[in-house]
C-alpha cells in the first residue's frame, strides 16, 4: 500500500465536488485550488459541467489523465461504488471524508469499503475523517475554510489524529502559535490505514522530526506496541489518549484485574515504549514544541535567569517538583556575570537580575550559562511588564537559542504585550510558556527522552 500518495499526489479527483459553497465538496475543491496545490485537480459530479472554473466529470473513470488520489465526500452508501470506480481507473490513494460507517453501527458498509480497497490496493484513509494536510505539497483535504481554521507553516512536527475535531482544533492552534508542521493526518475509523500504519510512515518520513499522536483506542494492540517501541528509538513521540475514563469497568475476579484497567494499561504501554504521554492538549503543545525546537539534553541541572524575584522562586520550586536539579554556577561564570551586572544583583542560581534589568543583563547571564559546564538547560523568565524590558530581549534570546547548545525555554506570563513577544519567540523557534510549572514539566520530559536516546545509542555502539 502506497501511503505516500496521500501526502504527495500529482493529481487529485474530488468526488462529490459541489457548486454550493456551503457543501463540504465545495470547500474541499476550493482548498485544493486556492491552497497552492501544484498538481491537477478534477472535480467529479454527475450533475454539473463546471465548478470553480474547472471542467467537471461524470465519474473518475471519465478523466483521461492519470489520477493519483481521490478525495471522497458523498453519501456513505455510494462510497464503495465510487471506490470501485477508482480501483478500475487505477487510483492509488483515497481519502474518504464521508461519515456513516462503523461509527454509527454501519459495520457492513465499512467492511465493503475495506474489501474494495484491498482488492484494488487503494491506500485509503478514513472513512469519517478529515484526511491530510501537507504544507510542502499543499495537499489539503481538511474541509474547513481557511478563514475559519488556519493552516500551520512548514516544520518538523507530524500530527496523527484519530479524531477530526481534535485535529482541527490542534491545526488552528498550531497555526496561531507559529508551530511548524511536517504532515497532518486524521484517519477517522481507520478501516484500511490505521494508527500503526501511520506511525510507521511518519517514522520513515524524512521531514518528520517529532510525532504527535492522538488516539482514543487502537485496533491492533500488539503491532501498535511493537511499532511504537521501535519508532521512539528514532524520533520522539508525544501521545494523548482520549477516553480514559470511558469504556466501563470490565468484570474482574482478581486483584490485578480490578487495578489494571484499560487506562492503566495504555499508560504502561506508553511508558514501556518511551512515548511521552501528554495529559491534555495543552501538554501536547508544551511538550512537542520543546522536542521540536531544542537540542536533546539528558542533564538534569537547570539554570534559571529572570528579571523577577518571584518568578525565580517559583521556577526553582518547579525544578524541584519535577525532579530536576538547580545548577550550581561555576566560580568562573559567577565572576563573569558579577563583572557586568550591578553590585546589588546576587549572583547565584536562580539568578534574579532584578526588576531594572534590560536585554544586556539577560545576555550576560544567558551567555555565561551557555558556557558553564555545570548548567545543562536554561529557563529564562521574562517579565515583559517592567520598564527596561522591550523587544531587544527577544532578539537576544533568539540568538542564544539558535546556537542550539542547550535547551532554552522562556517563561513569560502576561497580557497583550507579553503575548506579542512570546509569539515572535515561538515563530523563531523558542518555546515559550505562561507558567514555569508547564515549562519545567516539559523540560523534564525532554530530559527523560534524551536519557533514553543516550542509553539506546550506548547499547548500539557497545
Amino acid at each position: 500500500m502506497n501511503i505516500d500518495v496521500l501526502f504527495d499526489p500529482k493529481s487529485v479527483a474530488v468526488i462529490g465536488a459541489s457548486r454550493d459553497p456551503s457543501k463540504i465538496g465545495h470547500v474541499l475543491l476550493r482548498n485544493f485550488i486556492e491552497g497552492g496545490f501544484r498538481g491537477e485537480v478534477y472535480p467529479i459530479n454527475p450533475k454539473t459541467d463546471e465548478i470553480l472554473g474547472l471542467k467537471c466529470y461524470l465519474s473518475v473513470k471519465n478523466v483521461k489523465e492519470e489520477v493519483d488520489l481521490a478525495v471522497i465526500a458523498i453519501p456513505a452508501k455510494l462510497v464503495p461504488e465510487a471506490l470501485r470506480e477508482c480501483g478500475e481507473k487505477g487510483v492509488k490513494g483515497a481519502i474518504v471524508i464521508s461519515g456513516g460507517f462503523s461509527e454509527v453501527g454501519n459495520v457492513e458498509l465499512e467492511n465493503e469499503l475495506k474489501e474494495v480497497c484491498l482488492k484494488y490496493d487503494i491506500a485509503c484513509l478514513g472513512p469519517n475523517c478529515m484526511g491530510v494536510i501537507n504544507p510542502l505539497t499543499r495537499v489539503d483535504s481538511v474541509f474547513i475554510p481557511t478563514y475559519k481554521m488556519g493552516r500551520p507553516k512548514l516544520g518538523g512536527v507530524s500530527f496523527i489524529s484519530q479524531s477530526g475535531a481534535i485535529g482541527g482544533a490542534v491545526l488552528d492552534l498550531m497555526a496561531r502559535q507559529g508551530f511548524g508542521m511536517a504532515k497532518f493526518v486524521s484517519y477517522g475509523n481507520g478501516a484500511v490505514i490505521d494508527e500503526t500504519d501511520l506511525l510507521k510512515y511518519m517514522a520513515d518520513d524524512e521531514r518528520t522530526r517529532t510525532i504527535v499522536l492522538y488516539i482514543e483506542g487502537v485496533r491492533r494492540g500488539r503491532e501498535f506496541f511493537e511499532t511504537l517501541k521501535g519508532v521512539t528509538k528514532r524520533k520522539p513521540v508525544v501521545v494523548l489518549k482520549g477516553g480514559k475514563t470511558a469504556g466501563g469497568a470490565v468484570a474482574t475476579k482478581s486483584h490485578t484485574g480490578s487495578l489494571a484497567g484499560n487506562a492503566e494499561v495504555y499508560e504502561a504501554v506508553f511508558k514501556q515504549c518511551r512515548a511521552t504521554e501528554a495529559r491534555s492538549l495543552d501538554e501536547v503543545f508544551s511538550f512537542s514544541k520543546l522536542f521540536e525546537s531544542q537540542p536533546f539534553c539528558s542533564g538534569e541541572r537547570v539554570g534559571i535567569v529572570t528579571n523577577g524575584g518571584g518568578l525565580a522562586v517559583i521556577a526553582a520550586d518547579s525544578v524541584e517538583e519535577n525532579g530536576l536539579k538547580l545548577a550550581e554556577l561555576s566560580p568562573e561564570s559567577v565572576e563573569r556575570i558579577r563583572e557586568r551586572v550591578p553590585a546589588y544583583v546576587n549572583v547565584k542560581n536562580p539568578l534574579d537580575l532584578s526588576g531594572d534589568a534590560g536585554a544586556e543583563r539577560f545576555e550576560v547571564a544567558i551567555n555565561a550559562m551557555l558556557e558553564d559546564e555545570n548548567v545543562d538547560s536554561i529557563v529564562v523568565g521574562v517579565l515583559f511588564q517592567t520598564e527596561s524590558i522591550d523587544s531587544r530581549v527577544v532578539s537576544m534570546i533568539v540568538g542564544a537559542s539558535n546556537l542550539k547548545r542547550k535547551p532554552i525555554v522562556v517563561v513569560c506570563p502576561g497580557g497583550e504585550y507579553a503575548e506579542v513577544h512570546s509569539r515572535i519567540l515561538e515563530n523563531c523557534g523558542v518555546p515559550t510558556y505562561t507558567s514555569s510549572s508547564s515549562a519545567v514539566r516539559a523540560l523534564r520530559k525532554l530530559v527523560d527522552y534524551s536519557k533514553f536516546v543516550d542509553k539506546s545509542r550506548e547499547l548500539k555502539s557497545s
Binding site: 474482574t252 486483584h255 490485578t256 489494571a260 492503566e264 494499561v265 504502561a268 511508558k271 514501556q272
Partner: protein, 204 residues
C-alpha cells in the same frame, strides 16, 4: 483453575512458593502440620478469603489447629471447597503483590505493587506489557512510590534482584499461557535474601 494446579504452574516457571498441603479433614491437617501454621479455605468461589474469615494465621498447637480448622470451614458457608490448606507460617518480610491480566488489545500485562495499603488504598502499582526485559522489571519496582521501603529507607534493603527475577518469570508465564485471563500472587513476601510467594490465584 484449581489451587494445586496453579501452584504447580507457577513452580514450573521457577517461582519460589511457600510449601503447604491441601487437606480434606481435620485429622489430615493435624498430621501434616509443622507449627506455627496457617490454615486457609481453598475455593474457587471465594475471592476474599480473609474478609470472609476463611484464613487463620499463626496457629501454634494442635488444639488451636482443630478449632481454627472448624471455624474457617464454617465461615466458608456453602461454597464449593477444594480443601483446607495447611501452610507453614511465612517468615515476616515486606509484602508484595505480583499479578497479571490479559488485556483485550495488548495481551498479557504484569503488575507489581507493595501489599496492604499501598496497592489497596493508594493504588500504588506499576504495569508492563509482557514479555518484559530485565530493565523493565527494575523500572517497574522503581516506579512505585513505596519503592524506597524495598531499597533500604527503613534500614533493611530487600532482595530487589530476586523480585526482578520473579517479575520476569511471571511475565514469561503469562506470555506463554494464553488461556490465563487473570492471576495474582498475593502476597509475595520479600526478604533481605530471597522471597516466597504465599498465595496464588489463576483464572483461565
Amino acid at each position: 483453575m484449581k489451587y494445586t494446579d496453579a501452584v504447580a504452574l507457577v513452580k514450573r516457571y521457577g517461582v519460589e512458593f511457600l510449601e503447604g498441603v491441601v487437606t480434606r479433614s481435620v485429622e489430615e491437617a493435624v498430621k501434616v502440620a509443622e507449627y506455627p501454621v496457617a490454615v486457609k479455605v481453598i475455593s474457587e468461589e471465594i475471592t476474599h478469603k480473609t474478609d470472609r474469615g476463611c484464613v487463620k494465621l499463626n496457629i501454634k498447637d494442635e488444639e488451636c489447629l482443630r478449632g481454627s480448622y472448624e471455624e474457617v470451614v464454617r465461615n466458608a458457608g456453602g461454597a464449593r471447597v477444594e480443601g483446607v490448606l495447611v501452610q507453614k507460617m511465612a517468615k515476616p518480610g515486606v509484602e508484595l503483590i505480583v499479578g497479571g491480566r490479559r488485556d483485550e488489545q495488548f495481551g498479557p500485562v504484569v503488575l507489581f505493587g507493595l501489599g496492604g495499603v499501598f496497592v489497596e488504598v493508594f493504588k500504588d502499582f506499576s504495569l508492563r506489557v509482557c514479555p518484559i526485559e530485565r530493565n523493565d522489571a527494575v523500572e517497574m519496582m522503581q516506579e512505585v512510590k513505596a519503592y524506597p521501603i524495598l531499597a533500604g529507607a527503613r534500614g533493611k534493603r530487600y532482595d530487589v534482584e530476586a523480585v526482578a527475577d520473579l517479575l520476569q518469570k511471571v511475565s514469561k508465564l503469562l506470555y506463554e499461557n494464553e488461556q490465563i485471563m487473570e492471576m495474582d500472587l498475593n502476597p509475595v513476601i520479600v526478604y533481605e535474601r530471597g522471597y516466597c510467594a504465599v498465595d496464588v490465584r489463576v483464572m483461565p
